[in-house]
């Protein structure tokens, strides 16, 4: 990653720029935290092919995060680069939905989480290619092609595990039951999501949700899995209120930059 420029004190961001900054952080942090989580599998996957698969998906996600967090830094205009934003913020400044910080669990649970997010990113980015924000449109157009391969990989595994042995089916169904409640947050529209949709920067989350659900239902049917019932939940990772898991992720992720400030490869 690039050099960390010194932070300079800029003037107050106007409200529109502040909103865009936070929105781009939501997107970037989702990719960053999930990429970091998937990285935990390296060297521990059930087979070499899965080590490669999960690591490659993680790399793509980190690549997305770099583009998004760099852009966030430019919007903010205080001279913060991708590294400073990725590694030197505090717990409450990360704006990812908390689904991506949930533990990897077994391979099946990782795959369930991945299918839920891959399908979400696919439907979101596909629509975002028409964003009024040119930069986000370009990042989305680039990312959506990669996300297709992520979903091909994760949904292929979910079908094999769901429509597999009694043991594998029970495990992924239980993972789905555990993780499903966290998907509510992805689509819970708040004032920031609404403002971005009004400005044409982002698609309406209700549209994304409808398409996502259609795709998920198709995959679950093929995997012979039951979609859990929706339960009202209020998670606020998108506003910086996280589960306990994020702290452990950050401790590992930030260790090097905190210990050797400004370290570069």
């Amino acid at each position: 990653m690039s050099a960390i420029p010194p932070t300079v004190r800029g003037q107050q961001l106007n409200a529109d720029a502040q909103a865009l900054f936070r929105y781009v952080l939501r997107l970037g942090d989702l990719s960053l935290v999930l990429g970091q989580r998937l990285g935990e599998w390296v060297g521990h996957s059930p087979a070499l092919e899965e080590d490669l698969g999960l690591a490659n998906v993680a790399l793509d996600l980190i690549g997305q995060a770099r583009l998004l967090l760099t852009y966030a830094g430019e919007i903010e205009g205080r001279g913060r680069g991708e590294d400073e934003i990725a590694f030197l913020r505090e717990h409450g400044e990360y704006l990812n939905a908390i689904l991506v910080e949930q533990p990897n669990g077994d391979f099946g649970q990782t795959i369930v989480r991945q299918v839920l997010i891959d399908a979400f990113q696919l439907e979101l980015y596909q629509r975002m290619t028409a964003s009024t924000d040119e930069r986000l449109a370009a990042i989305a157009a680039k990312s959506v092609k990669e996300v297709l391969y992520h979903l091909r990989y994760s949904s292929g595994w979910l079908v094999r595990l769901g429509d597999g042995t009694e043991e594998s089916r029970a495990r992924v169904q239980s993972a789905l039951d555990t993780l499903w409640p966290y998907t509510v947050e992805l689509f819970a529209e708040d004032e920031l999501d609404r403002a971005m949709a009004d400005r044409g920067v982002a698609p309406r989350l209700s549209d994304v949700q409808a398409a996502w659900l259609g795709r998920i239902d198709e995959i679950l049917a093929e995997a012979t899995l039951q979609r859990p019932k929706d339960r009202p939940n209020s998670w606020h990772g998108k506003r910086g209120q996280h589960s306990e898991h994020l702290g452990y992720i950050l401790a590992e992720m930030q260790h090097l930059q905190r210990t050797y400030p400004g370290a570069r490869w």
Binding site: N56, D60, G63, L67, T70, A138, A141, K142, L148, R152
Partner: protein, 188 residues
């Protein structure tokens, strides 16, 4: 990094502010740049040049005399992207093209359809099956597993053993006829 212009804008040592270059000089610099770029190899697939891959989107001369090179990444997280950018900068500097900037181009996104005919031939002779062309539709990428022909015995009785190979752009396959493993450059 910037989608269109940004981090990749790295002005080389500025030359004396010259008046608009003579057309002959402009042509010479553009030709020099293309020749230099054609020699830059992909760090992961040395048989292949980055021009063969279709990564160079444009080479233009700005009104201030700066040469601008548009470069696209294949995959956003591909570690080779940084190496390629540095190789491009080195090649341009060594070729003496004068002041230049390398700009990252994200949109329209790179597609494997832009690999040149020459590039496809080089991939094949390297033992890597070139991507299906035109690139499969979204639906096909998600659902179907098209048979990929073995580069050695040309049998279509092959199987995918890993969706991701040694680099993000390739999948690992195996031929059931001659039993050899081989790589397939995925269409994207």
């Amino acid at each position: 990094m910037n989608s269109v212009r940004g981090e990749f804008r790295k002005p080389a040592p500025a030359p004396a502010p010259a008046p608009a270059p003579a057309p002959a000089d402009a042509d010479r610099r553009l030709a020099l740049a293309w020749r230099a770029l054609a020699a830059v190899e992909d760090p992961e697939i040395p048989a292949l040049g980055i021009v063969d891959l279709g990564l160079i989107r444009f080479v233009t001369l700005e009104s201030d005399g700066t040469l601008e090179v548009g470069l696209s990444p294949t995959y956003v997280g591909c570690p080779a992207t940084e190496v390629i950018r540095r190789s491009v900068e080195d090649a341009l500097r060594n070729a003496g093209v004068g002041a230049f900037v390398v700009t990252q181009v994200l949109s329209p996104a790179w597609t494997s359809d832009w690999i040149t005919a020459d590039g496809r031939r080089k991939l094949e002779s390297y033992g890597i099956v070139p991507p299906e062309r035109p690139a499969a539709s979204m639906r096909d990428i998600l659902r179907t597993a098209r048979p990929v022909g073995c580069p050695r015995c040309h049998s279509t009785d092959t199987e995918c053993i890993s969706e991701f190979g040694s680099t993000p752009c390739k999948a690992l396959h195996r031929c059931r006829a001659c039993l050899e493993p081989f790589e397939y450059f995925k269409c994207i």
